[in-house]
Amino acid sequence: MEIVVCIKQVPDPGHIQLDPKTGTIIRGGVPAIINTVDKNALEAALQLRKINGGRVTVVSMGPPSTVEALQEALALGADRAALASDRAFAGADTLATSVTLAALINKTGPFDLVLCGYSSLDGGTAQVGPQTAAILEVPFFTAVQKMEKSAAGIQVEMETEEGVVAAESSLPALATITKGMNRPRGIRLSEAKKAKNKELFTYDLQGLGLSDDQVGEKGSGVCMVEVLPLPAGRDAEIISGEPEEIAGKIQGEIMKLGLQSRGGNK
């Protein structure tokens, strides 16, 4: 089975800080990590490979430093990696991102299955998976929590707000994976040692056979035109004192609201 996993490198959310003066995100110096749910997608791929044989290719679009994320994926057990990196890709929305990823995936050769995370920790749109599927013209599933190879191709369970939908399609196909799918493995040092001998390809705009109006800011379908300020807060009054007093005061304020108890959340 030829499986491609899309991984995105994102800033570690625990380290993001806002400039107290301007209120904008401080972009420098934030450590980058693999988007966490992409590790679940990779784990799912490695498990499928274990059962069905084949090869796992990890792909990403990002600046040159994204090789670190790909190297980590190789250390976790992926067989090879490919990166799309070019100044022209900068400022991409999800459509331009998906066009680039689809070209990259096609560049790596024929595939049976593409796996993505359900959504990223930074942009968080959950759009890239299904958009990449549309451009690759393959059937797709989102929010997949269970998956196995079946006679017809692939069988999945999708999480929705109301319940679980089980579905099946032929291959090739694409699926976006949720956290509930598995517990991603950690790096095995013996596996990691092999990583530096694995293939890692890098492609630029030309290498992917794309033109600059298909990618990056120019190829995007949306653009950000304005940032509106967040609403002002209420500036809390701090309640201090012994825990008993605090609890009493809070309960008093709640009583003033005069709410009816709805009998709990059981």
Binding site: Q71, G186, I187, R188, L189, A192
Partner: protein, 380 residues
């Protein structure tokens, strides 16, 4: 002089950090509370090949060097010094076999140790004083092809967990001669005794190891009869001290991180406390202690990796970093105010763990003797 980690070392550091932050951290509270290392933590560490770093590749290990091992132990000890200690002594138990063992012994033990199936240890200390290994009273009497061992080791790390322990014994027929015997599952007559209750390293088991007419085949001798002191001192000098230095680095890093985080968020009189010079000086000292300890440890390890002697350098690293970790952990507690000494705050744990590093693998006084001897020799 190249102060960069190589590719393998970078990867190792990343792997160890993600294990520590993403897996181990969840267990720390429980480890402290129960004073026990959960099976699954040891199994996960083994699954990630952390037991195998120093074992040569031909025995299913990774064949990585001293520096790699320090990087690994630092990252783990940053989150749990107890697990750092457990791993450090595991590597310590492995070292005599790798360095001085016979081919047969290597085949027999190393692959299973690399896989994490056989927990290893090294037992030298007795109640007669760990600082003077020649005071060891455990005696080995020859009996046909075997030796019969009697004695009691104290303060032995993983005494109740280890499946293979290198034990230093005095030869009955030559009281000046010491030998290291490998006690394994096939040697009847050895067992764990008392289990210590320590102020720190909760979850790293320490206790007595008792040998009562313990029968050990001659094939289990490491090196030759009489090599015991040389092998024991080499193992403690190069591996034991390096390990304790690395555990200290972890405590230093954790203390600094927590101190910075807290002093950023604690606001008194309208400003964060780290806007006060008195706190800033503490942070500066803590940072320098961390960096100096790293430089000493990394240099010693690099010498070792180049095949040079590094016992004096390891002694310096162990001495400096263990004392520094106590200073730094205390400063972290102080910066937290009363909170720093409450059980809910990890800084008190750093301090308790740091105190124990000083007495393990050779006390400060012993390191001072080693370093001063080297100084006198070099500069006389």
């Amino acid at each position: 002089m190249d102060f960069k980690f190589n590719e393998d070392q970078e990867m190792l550091s990343k792997a160890a950090r993600s294990f520590a932050d993403e897996f181990l951290a969840e267990y720390v509270e429980g480890i402290e509370e129960n004073d026990e290392m959960p099976r699954e933590v040891i199994e996960e560490a083994a699954a990630r090949d952390f037991m195998a770093v120093t074992i040569p590749e031909e025995y299913d290990g990774l064949g990585m060097g001293h520096l790699a091992r320090i990087i690994l132990l630092e990252e783990i000890s940053r989150v749990s010094a107890a697990l750092g200690m457990l791993l450090q002594v595991w590597h310590l138990g492995i070292h005599p076999i790798v360095r001085f063992g016979s081919e047969e012994q290597k085949q027999k033990y190393l692959p299973r140790m690399a896989a994490g199936e056989l927990l290893a240890g090294l037992a030298v200390t007795e109640s007669t004083g760990g600082s003077d290994p020649t005071a060891v009273q455990t005696e080995a009497v020859k009996d046909g092809d075997d030796y019969i061992l009697n004695g009691r080791k104290v303060y032995i790390t993983s005494s109740h967990l280890s499946k293979v322990v290198g034990v230093m014994a005095r030869m009955a027929d030559d009281p000046k001669s010491f030998t290291i015997f490998l006690l394994d599952e096939d040697c009847p007559g050895w067992r764990a005794g008392r289990q210590e209750k320590k102020i720190g390293f909760k979850g790293s088991n320490t206790g007595d190891l008792i040998m009562e007419d313990c029968r050990v085949p001659a094939a289990n001798i490491i090196g030759k009869i009489g090599d015991g002191l040389k092998i024991g001192l080499n193992s403690i000098g190069e591996v034991g001290r390096a390990g304790m230095a690395a555990v200290s680095l972890g405590i230093l890093a954790a203390s600094l991180e927590d101190a910075v985080k807290f002093s950023n968020s604690r606001v008194l009189g309208g400003k964060a406390i780290n806007k006060n010079q008195a706190i800033q000086i503490k942070l500066a000292d803590m940072y320098m202690d961390l960096e100096m300890s790293r430089l000493l440890a990394y240099k010693a390890a690099t010498l070792g990796d180049e095949g040079q002697r590094c016992d004096t350098e390891m002694a310096m690293a162990k001495y400096y970093s263990s004392e520094a970790s106590v200073r730094s952990a205390k400063a972290a507690c102080d910066i937290h105010g009363g909170l720093g000494y409450m059980m809910e705050t990890p800084t008190q744990r750093y301090l308790r763990d740091a105190l124990l590093v000083i007495s393990s693998a050779g006390t400060t006084e012993i390191q001072q003797i080693i370093v001063s001897k080297a100084a006198i020799k070099k500069y006389s």
